[in-house]
């Protein structure tokens, strides 16, 4: 892993050097060759689910936007802060009323729906091409901002999910490294599970319940070598053999190997069970590092990230992307802001404020990334990471995943039945 990490870092340094020549075309925080700052003007609005709270607002309005105004003195930006939990309602009401913000930050899996409805501007027409972006980001990340072959969004930050092991617990059980296969994962999880004399669970061997059931399933699905949808996103493929095997593994971990009980942890728990030792391993968000930093620094040395390895490498990513409204009255000013927000400097500051993973490959060597082991690990493995989303109906159907996964974990349905029923539901939405 170390060697691999060093090789990737060396490669990224080389890439940074190359990008010094070519990246200015798409990000870099400098005025694009096509954009003349003196000619770009107008009042634009920005809708953002990040930069929230006083620290975020201070960062955006006192540090970043002044830099933008320095470059584009004739542009004024009005910021509308929201939360991810209510972004959909905010966007929906904006779209139906015709008052779409000029620049919108939204999540991975959201682009398809809003691009399909014609809400988003084709950034290709504004001068940003897929090829340009792929020089600075991994292919999968660029594709998260594309719909129907066109670029509609530029990534700013990523949220990743991967395996995390408590090495102190694993070592106690006689294991020196995290699992490198599903079989090892089961073996270590069984060895590290602790139950009291009356059978109640005291420590889960592998925790899957403290994150959203859909995202947990997706991570395991990707490690099985499966995908959510076919290449053109017209059919679900999560109920393939790989999908059934993935959900089967999750159900077996609960019901057969009994390494975690339903309800032992939940997404509403105050603290992740890996931090207080209630779990030996689990699937976790990259911000577990910053959570542990705040709650118990001593545990940081014992937290070891790992890619869940099955037939393939399983790592999940979501994130935040910047888009421009199709009906923007000042498209050039909007594009300038989009480029600024996705530039290395602004994106790094935004990621650092939230403890997230920068999407720009060149930021791997930044001090922030090097100081946060989970973010660094995520960036080093972005080439194996897969995203959720695909069809334009993703936002409608994604809420149906958790009940299907839970039905299988509770033994109400077999993994195959649960996924087939879900696939039928999703297919109906796609065909509608």
């Amino acid at each position: 892993m170390e060697v691999k990490s060093r090789m990737r870092r060396t490669a990224s340094v080389a890439m940074v050097a190359l990008m010094g020549l070519g990246l200015a075309a798409c990000s870099a925080g400098e005025a694009d060759a096509d954009l003349n700052p003196d000619e770009v003007s107008g009042e634009i609005s920005l809708l953002t689910p990040i930069f929230e709270g006083s620290p975020g607002q201070d960062l955006l309005e006192d540090e970043l936007l002044p830099q933008f105004y320095e470059e584009y003195p004739n542009v004024t930006v009005n910021v509308d802060y929201t939360t991810y939990g209510n972004l959909n309602e905010k966007l929906t009401t904006a779209v139906v009323s015709g008052l779409v913000p000029d620049v919108m930050l939204m999540g991975v899996g959201w682009i398809e729906a809003f691009a399909d409805k014609g809400v988003l501007a084709d950034l290709g027409e504004l001068g940003l091409s897929e090829a340009d972006l792929k020089e600075s980001y991994t292919d999968e990340i660029v594709e998260a901002g594309m719909w129907d072959g066109n670029v509609y969004a530029v990534p700013i930050m990523l949220d990743t999910r991967f395996g995390v092991a408590r090495m102190d617990i694993l070592k106690e059980a006689g294991y020196d490294s995290p699992p490198s296969s599903w079989d090892e994962l089961i073996e270590i999880a069984e060895a590290t599970t602790v139950r009291s004399s009356n059978g109640s669970l005291e420590r889960a061997g592998f925790d899957m319940m403290s994150l959203d059931a859909r995202q947990a399933f997706e991570t395991v699905l990707f490690s099985a070598g499966g995908d959510l949808f076919n290449a053109d996103a017209t059919e679900p493929t999560f109920n393939s053999d790989e999908g059934v095997a993935a959900l089967g593994l999750m159900a077996d971990l609960v019901n057969k190997y009994e390494v975690e009980d339903i309800g032992f942890t939940s997404t509403d728990d105050i603290v992740n069970p890996l931090i207080n030792g209630r779990a030996a391993m689990g699937i976790a968000h990259n911000n577990l590092w910053t959570q542990a930093l705040e709650a118990d620094e001593t545990v940081l040395d014992n937290l070891e990230p790992f890619v869940i390895q099955g037939e393939s490498s399983g790592m999940f990513f979501g994130g935040t992307l910047a888009t421009v409204a199709n009906n923007s009255k000042n498209p050039q000013a909007a594009r300038a802001l989009l480029e600024f927000l996705s530039s290395p400097e602004a994106a790094l500051a935004a990621n650092e404020q939230r403890g997230n993973v920068p999407a720009l490959t060149e930021l791997l060597d930044s001090d922030y990334v090097q100081s946060n082991r989970f973010v660094q690990f995520a960036m080093e493995n972005l080439d194996v990471a897969k995203r959720e989303g695909g069809p334009a109906q993703w936002l409608e159907v994604r809420g149906d995943f958790a009940p299907a996964v839970q039905a299988a974990l509770l033994g109400q349905k077999t993994p195959e039945e649960a996924l087939d029923d879900l696939a039928a539901l999703v297919q109906t939405s796609i065909d509608r």
Binding site: S54, K90, D159, I275, E294
Partner: protein
Amino acid sequence: MTLPTIKALAISEEVTVAPRKRWFHHAKGRQAVLVNILLSLGAITMLVPFLWMVLTSLKSPAELAQFPPTVFPQEWMWSNYAATLDAAPFGLYFRNSLVIATTHTLITIALGAMAGYALARIYFRGREAIFLAFIAMLMIPTYTKIVPQFLLVKFMPLFGGNDILGQGGSGWLDTWWALIIPGGLSASAIFLFRQFYLSLPKDLEEAARIDGLGEFRIFAQIYTPLIKPAIATVGLLTFQESWNNFLWPLLVTTSSDLRVIQVGLAVFQQLDNTQWQYLMAGTTMATVPMVILFIFAQKYFIQGFTNAGIK
């Protein structure tokens, strides 16, 4: 029957009645104890989450991470409150919430009482149909009304750069109008007022009319002073609903200057990370006005709930 015989009978009656009375008093006492125990359990069940919220607001992140959790903070982190206030402009949000909730309450009490009175005590054609329409409105889920209400606000003629047809501008969006007018009056408030006015005797109205009082004075001077519990109940419910409103203020405003306290609290609850100590500190502070209001209006509030049968 001789006197001694009557006395003897009375004594024997006393003798037989006294244990029965004692038994009755004992039974009543036992019942009261049982009721008190049940009510105390109910009160504790209600209080525990509130106390847990306050105690959580005073713990450090390290202590919150402990399992099993501690009940009382090992170190009382009063600084969490200062940090919470620094995380967002809560002073401004608090003021905005107070202005909106107070205005909603005043509008609801003034107009809701008038509407409730009209529906209860003035006979006019279509009264029942209008009342049924109000009942139907109670059954419409809030979420389904958001988009139509948003469009009404956006296309408000002659406001925010809109022309007479409501086109060309932003209407009431991002203004106090959007925050105050749509939530100013609710069907449930009118319904409650109607029920209270219906429960009052007609004799008062007739006497007032004989004395020469007009409709408005009968409403304002005769009936409305008799429904103080209703005013307290509707007022408190309206204030609480308005104070806790999150989604509507978030949707219709874009400026931070118009945001409310619940929007401020959302800062601590991000998609993948919740800062519980600050969220609980903020929620504790946001609860204080409601608690104070309830303490002052408690007597009327309980009467109101009992009279309206909405326990």
